[in-house]
Symmetry: C2
Subunit: 419 residues, 2 copies
Amino acid sequence: MDKQIRMEEYAGYQYIEGGVCAAQGFTANGLNCGLNPDKAKNDLGMVYSERLCTAAAVYTTNKVKGAPVLVTKRHLGMSGGRAKAVIVNSKNANTCNADGVEIAEKISELAAQALEIRPEEVIIASTGVIGQPMSPEPFAAHMQELAAGLSREGHTAAAAAIMTTDTVRKEVAVEFQIAGRKCRLGGMAKGSGMIHPNMATTLNFITTDAAVSTEMLQTALSDIVEITYNCLSIDGDTSTNDMVSIMANGAAGNPEITMDGTEYQSFRQALYIVMAAMTKMLAADGEGATRLLECSCVGCPDRQTAVSIAKSVVQSSLVKCLLFGCDANWGRIMCAIGYTDVDFDIDKVDVDVASAAGTIEVCKGNAVILPFSEEKAAEVLAEDEIHININLHQGEEQAKAWGCDLTYDYVKINGDYRS
Amino acid sequence: MDKQIRMEEYAGYQYIEGGVCAAQGFTANGLNCGLNPDKAKNDLGMVYSERLCTAAAVYTTNKVKGAPVLVTKRHLGMSGGRAKAVIVNSKNANTCNADGVEIAEKISELAAQALEIRPEEVIIASTGVIGQPMSPEPFAAHMQELAAGLSREGHTAAAAAIMTTDTVRKEVAVEFQIAGRKCRLGGMAKGSGMIHPNMATTLNFITTDAAVSTEMLQTALSDIVEITYNCLSIDGDTSTNDMVSIMANGAAGNPEITMDGTEYQSFRQALYIVMAAMTKMLAADGEGATRLLECSCVGCPDRQTAVSIAKSVVQSSLVKCLLFGCDANWGRIMCAIGYTDVDFDIDKVDVDVASAAGTIEVCKGNAVILPFSEEKAAEVLAEDEIHININLHQGEEQAKAWGCDLTYDYVKINGDYRS
């Protein structure tokens, strides 16, 4: 599958290059510090803003939390929701280690020293294998070099540093206006396996030059996570280390957004566009995936019902196998809709399956599967991006969820992950 | 993998042959009526008791319910919890069909006519592909032959008739005493794919010659389903047609059990033994499975906590891949324990992984993974039956859950199920 997703258009928002450095005043870098034995692959990344940023984050809901998650929470608490830098490594999650928190603090201090900032202004994150001892040595040995190499072009090196089983870098940025000021918001993400709703679901860093208060940053981030990353499922597993963070340095010069209103809504929309695009990229690059699945659920009494049903479909192993096998076994879709644990009348539901090759009506009420052409179904399912569209006809709310097919390669990748 | 599970021993209960005909007064039969184009494979089964039975059932929680589920509910309601026969087919679920209920009623009538009983004394079930038109013709053509061939030996033919992607027949029966009377309880099951907690999870028929009131049958069945079938996960999908039913004809001559007490507990234990063994058989024969996983969670504040944690582990795709790949990536087990949506202190938890080849201590408190020998881990994980043992040290309650590894063959079987 072509891992490049189709980017949706939104009036007033232009996609731009630059990832986490698209916003004014942010620099980044990435390098190999030796955690990854393949020296051609970056394993340590940094993002930096000389201007102090407001900052917010959403963390994994797993009870087993990676040490970096605990340390970032503490830092943002100590700094009152302010930050200047992100330090992040791959290949070792620094989770379930006896001295994990000490090590994460040590790495934060190393980054702070190199940048001449305070340790509590550092957001720290790690991804990789759980329960492997981690030494601060490789970090100490490379931190100066990492900081010295910070640049506006460094976003690709940083995005490469957070890749694990990802096959492509994930970066998105948009340019937009707030109160007549040109603003930018961009980010980078890693995903692939262990991605599941009901939590922050991925390692993800967002930067913006819009001025937004810590409170409104947190409000927007928590809200958008619900309808983007939390609507993504690769394999139903919820990681110990997942985190989404956002830093806003105000370099765009707009009056700081401190409450809901037109300006907040413009900012929130930018965040939605970037996070929805990255969510779709994560689904398309799911471990072993050959097909992207987008499930849209409309006509719902409330957003939670829409989210739950859409997620139930993209999470179904049998639907995922259906996609992989291009098998028009529609009963599996009906089945996954039916076991969603929310209240609705199944007899009013319409379902269709669509792709660039056309649309098949699966069901129009009464939970009865309609006759269809096997030939056309095969054509529709042969495309890279499949849409399952559900209309409950029971309200006005809607949501989307994203996933991918379940393939031999998923099993292969995860049968032997540590090697 | 050898699909034969190790049967646990229980004092006072002997395993016996006979499946659904182990109990006195039950006969059964199975044949090919043409739903399965492979004439060597049975697709229609019947179980019968001349004595009127008390009867109870647990049904799928899926909102999309197979027509036979709706019809059985109606029948048991009309008969006041009494039944004399089961009629069941494979290859077609009779679900999401416009005339499904009429057809299921028609098949019940055909069975009732052949047996000279009332239609509401018939428990009906179907399993197979969803949304395929079903004709009563093949049933009409073979019902007399099916009824005429009923015998005490017919349990194997009936058990064969309910197999779909199952590779082995599943039958278990025990002999035990109630109030000095020899009683028997046995059953047959089908499973393989689409098996998931939070519902009845499989097609399953149980018979006993103990005398038990409808109310106490329902109480026992609902209770035991919670800690057996509902603790089984193959792929996380919850079927539209799943049902567990029990019929008690009283032929053993014990005074009818109408309340809790010693006699009820003896009966409940027999039901537990048979249903737990069948649950384990279903896990061992999961689609594509090469390894059986039993997760035991003890030291819990309540049964629900124990059930939730044990299920979380057996459902984890990453743990399932770990088993397939024999990869000692213990972090995945910690991760799955951690994302269970119940309240407990993760820092008190002990975890070990055991098999016939030995035991590995994974964690003893503080959510820290202990050092271990890769060599020994490889030996332990190479066995057919793997046990993950969790102790919360936070109470006295416990539960088990069962699952299997995720393999290439699961993906293969489900990428092309309909053919």
